[in-house]
């Protein structure tokens, strides 16, 4: 178990280094640097030189990266080009929105997905076929389109839930929940499709195994077989897809946040992209990677807990 955690942590650290270094090098490659961006086209060469020196842009690339990395480890991701705010502060606030959104979508998506998948596998053929169609449609609907539709219909026309905006949990817990309800609903559609298909397939597969026959001959009740044996075995491949589900939820969160005007990491990333705010976009990439690493680590531990084969090998 410890082995898995350590291996994951090392891989995670490597991922962070690669992503940040790659972004860093790419930034250095594009013509025009931060100095000319800040001073504008009218600046003299002397002014540029002074500012470059101030910003440390005259240092070699590797040293700049090292300086950035040392500061980043201490929680300093530099300052946004557009606003005077430190990047870390800005992103920290974004996380408060994006994390509940993505986790909520994965949680709701996997709960509904597992329920639908098990029901389809146990209940029968036509339901299982209908599920195939639902999965096909669910995976094909663009997330931002679903988000816009929910916002327009449920938010604006019916007025049941806020169509846009975010309420902080500290200000109003109920309002917080209401402001996240539609975004989570939009974001979990793909997850429901993915998890329900995976669950249905793994329950089907488990039901075809020999030990189910042995249990039936012994006289184990169908309920006991399903809840004691089938679900536990079927959970193994289902947990394995949750990592991918989470990554796609983070991806979708960018669009969903834009649609609902939520001030999350995604909205920050979109704004940084249109203003070419490099420190912010590098910070966003690093934050997203961090979240992915932590989630994968937790999922690995869960996977090892439910799958005895992993548990023993480590």
């Amino acid at each position: 178990m410890l082995n898995i955690v350590v291996r994951r942590l090392v891989a995670g650290a490597a991922l962070l280094v690669v992503v940040s270094a790659l972004t860093f090098v790419l930034v250095a490659l594009i013509p025009g640097d931060a100095a000319s961006n800040i001073l504008g086209p009218g600046a003299s060469e002397a002014q540029l030189e002074t500012l470059r020196h101030q910003l440390g842009l005259d240092l070699p690339l590797w040293q700049r990266y090292l300086d950035w990395a040392v500061a980043a480890v201490q929680g300093d991701l530099g300052t946004s080009i557009v606003s005077p705010q430190p990047v870390a502060t800005q992103l920290g606030r974004g996380l408060e929105v994006s994390i509940p959104l993505a986790f909520g979508a994965v949680l709701v998506g996997s709960l509904i997905g597992v329920a639908v998948g098990v029901f389809a596998a146990v209940e029968g053929r036509w339901l299982s076929k209908a599920l195939d169609v639902l999965v096909l449609v669910g995976m094909a609907l663009p997330t931002f389109w679903v988000a816009l539709l929910l916002s327009s219909v449920v938010g604006v026309q019916l007025g049941w839930l806020p169509a846009t905006g975010f309420v902080s949990f500290d200000d109003d817990p109920v309002g917080w929940l209401r402001s996240l309800a539609l975004p989570v609903a939009a974001l979990c559609v793909g997850g429901i499709a993915m998890v329900s298909k995976q669950t249905r397939d793994s329950v089907d597969e488990t039901l075809s195994r020999d030990f189910i026959d042995a249990l039936r001959v012994e006289g184990a009740s169908p309920r006991r077989i399903l809840f004691g044996h089938v679900l536990r075995n079927a959970a193994i491949p289902t947990v394995a897809v949750l990592g991918a589900l989470f990554i796609s939820a983070l991806s979708g969160a960018v669009l969903v946040e834009s649609v609902f005007g939520l001030p999350g990491l995604g909205s920050i990333a979109v704004r940084a992209t249109s203003t070419r705010d490099v420190p912010v976009i590098v910070g966003v990439a690093v934050y997203f990677c961090l979240v992915v690493i932590v989630v994968n680590l937790v999922l690995d531990v869960v996977y090892a807990l439910i799958n005895p084969k992993v548990r023993v090998r480590s």
């Binding site: 094909a140 169908p222 077989i225 991806s251 979708g252 070419r276 490099v278």
Partner: protein, 612 residues
């Protein structure tokens, strides 16, 4: 020519030469066997035509609107209505296909090139390069696509193609993996190895011999990647990156549609559905191609098999009592078993009779396909996809022909134990050995306390001669060897204190030395408990060793049923004699110990042995 090597995602073409020749049959087969995927293909081809010829096909100017006809719903004039500037939605959708598809194609091309080149390099180079490329693939698969796309757009805002290239590489992680796996399997084939030995340059081998055979995989994965790319491209277009207004693209149109959704929903609905249908088409085509290729190498029709269902406990119907010969425990009379659907059944077992006397051990012998396993499974009530269509099964005076509909309580009360062929598969891999035994013990005796059940379970493990019962108790099945796992399976069958034990090839999956031990154990347990045993086998050695009588089956019929002595010394049926003769003279598991029935080696067996 070596046979094509199958892979999970599909390889159609066994060699480059025949690739072109077979291209048409693949299309034809797709149309015939996967019509939906074929329709999807036609749709996607039509879409490409529209992407190129959109401006020519559009009935209205997509940019200059007519304000007098703004915000209209679908009509004969404007099929999909108009937007707030009076521009025809249908025309804009047609014209918007061009840029949307252009970016999508850019992303997919980059993904294909990156996936194929890096995947083939990894598979062919091996070693460190392989490890490096695989870590890259892992890395790519753990990055959220949309976020990385924004990073790429920040860096290359004015260079959309470069941003699209970046994103293509980003989504190529999975393709890389699949191509690598294919390459690994291809390169082990003789003619590739021969080419390498004869000094053909590696690049030439890769390009001429390995690349063409990846075509199937590339088609399948390319199709799925197209859907993924389209969702990303329309997503960023909605965010305002890519095509600039007033020019249309699908993603932009959704944004426009959302603004007027309250007054005129047609625009948003139409553009969203256009994207969804296209993504569905790529998924259908990809899955269709994959199924087709799997069917090609496995010969199995995909999707035809109904998954097994968990039976439910209905109301318990009374089990009828019938007269039975007093010394018989199990009598099977004229048993017929058929497979298929109602109205299209084919019979595989045609009227089997057999009797297992109390306390006796009876062998059910036959080649694979003789119906012996189907017969055993029918008695156990675990037929898969088949049904008992005739005859009767009587156990100790009770008619259990309807066992498939019995409730679990009725099954539990029957006192039948079952040992499967593959011991590891017959135990739940997620439960510890001890827990599985306790579960079974307490089901059959609900009054048993947990501690008492535990003690009893350890006793059972001792009874099946586990070397260290206490330690085994806490192990998972995969930690046991095959022989140990089969002992556990036997212990579990004994939990129910069965009157009848049915063992389906209990030693086939085991090592030769372990086979003898397990057979000894079965004999000992049979003698100790006095239970009757029905053992299914193709191994005459097992019959000679354990059984008092045997039933020989072939093609779903009983050929001969007699005492073992009779069968070995004077088989009446010609087939029994052939079967006996075809068995290698010295039974592997029997050499070490004196057998109760000596089997004379036949002339054919000796000749066969000599000719090796």
């Amino acid at each position: 020519m070596t046979a094509p090597v199958p892979d999970a995602t599909g390889t159609f073409f066994p060699s480059p030469e025949s690739a072109a020749r077979r291209a048409r049959p693949v299309l034809f087969q797709l149309a015939r066997r996967r019509p939906l995927a074929f329709v999807a293909l036609l749709y996607l081809v039509a879409l490409l035509v529209v992407a190129v010829a959109g401006p020519l096909l559009a009935p209205y100017d997509p940019i200059a609107g007519d304000l007098t006809s703004a915000l209209q719903g679908p009509s004969a004039e404007h099929w999909l209505g108009t937007d707030q500037l009076g521009r025809d939605t249908f025309s804009r959708l047609l014209v918007g296909t061009g840029p949307t598809m252009m970016y999508t194609v850019q992303v997919v091309s980059a993904a294909l090139i990156s996936g194929i080149v890096l995947g083939m390099t990894a598979g062919f180079a091996g070693g460190r390069i392989d490890a490096l490329i695989m870590s890259l693939s892992d890395l790519l698969m753990s990055l959220p696509g949309m976020v990385m796309l924004l990073v790429a757009l920040t860096l290359f805002q004015d260079e959309m193609p470069i941003a699209m290239l970046c994103i293509g590489v980003l989504i190529s992680g999975f393709l890389m993996r699949v191509i690598r796996a294919n390459t690994l399997s291809f390169r082990q084939e003789t003619f590739i190895e021969a080419a390498a030995v004869s000094g053909l340059p590696t690049t030439l081998v890769l390009v001429r011999h390995i690349l063409p055979r990846q075509l199937g995989t590339v088609l399948v994965q390319g199709s799925l990647l197209t859907g993924m790319a389209l969702l990303l491209v329309t997503g960023v277009a909605y965010l305002g990156f890519g095509t600039e207004p007033p020019y249309p693209s699908w993603g932009l149109m959704i944004g426009d549609g959302a603004q007027i959704f309250g007054t005129q929903p047609a625009l948003m609905v139409a553009s969203g559905i256009a994207i969804a249908i296209t993504v569905m088409a790529t998924a259908l085509l990809g899955e269709g191609l994959r199924d087709l290729s799997i069917e090609r190498w496995s010969g199995r029709r995909i999707g035809g098999r109904a998954p097994r269902r968990l039976p439910r406990d209905g109301a318990a119907a009374p089990i009828p009592s019938v007269a039975q010969a007093p010394d018989a425990l199990l009598s099977v009379e004229g048993l017929e078993i058929s497979y298929g659907r109602p109205g299209d059944m084919h019979r595989v077992v045609h009227g089997v009779d057999l009797v297992v006397p109390r306390g006796a051990t009876v062998g059910l012998v036959g080649e694979s396909g003789s119906g012996k396993t189907a017969t055993a499974r029918a008695i156990l009530g675990i037929l898969r996809g088949g049904a008992i269509t005739g005859g009767r099964i009587v156990l100790d005076g009770a008619d259990i022909t309807g066992i498939h509909d019995f409730t679990s309580a009725q099954r539990a009360a029957l006192g039948i134990g079952y040992i499967a062929q593959e011991p590891h598969l017959s135990l739940d891999p997620t439960w510890r050995v001890g827990a599985q035994l306790i579960e079974c013990l307490r089901r059959h005796d609900p009054a048993l306390t947990r501690q008492a059940a535990r003690a009893r379970a350890v006793e059972l493990l001792e009874a099946v001669r586990m070397r260290d019962p206490e330690e085994t108790f806490d192990k998972y099945p995969h930690e046991l060897s095959g022989g140990m796992a089969q002992r556990v399976a036997i212990a579990r069958a004994l939990c129910t204190q069965p009157r009848l034990l049915i063992a389906d090839e209990p030693t086939t999956a085991l090592d030769v030395t372990v086979q003898a031990e397990v057979l000894d154990l079965l004999r000992e347990l049979q003698e100790r408990t006095g239970m009757a045993v029905l053992i299914i086998t193709h191994d005459w050695g097992v019959v000679a060793d354990l059984c008092t009588a045997a039933v020989v089956m072939r093609e779903g019929r009983v050929r001969e049923a007699a005492s073992v002595e009779r069968l070995f010394t004077a088989p009446e049926d010609a087939y029994t004699a052939t079967l006996l003769a075809a068995t290698p003279a010295s039974m592997p598991s029997r050499r070490a110990r004196p057998s109760r029935y000596a089997v004379e080696p036949s002339r054919r067996a000796i000749e066969k042995e000599a000719s090796r």
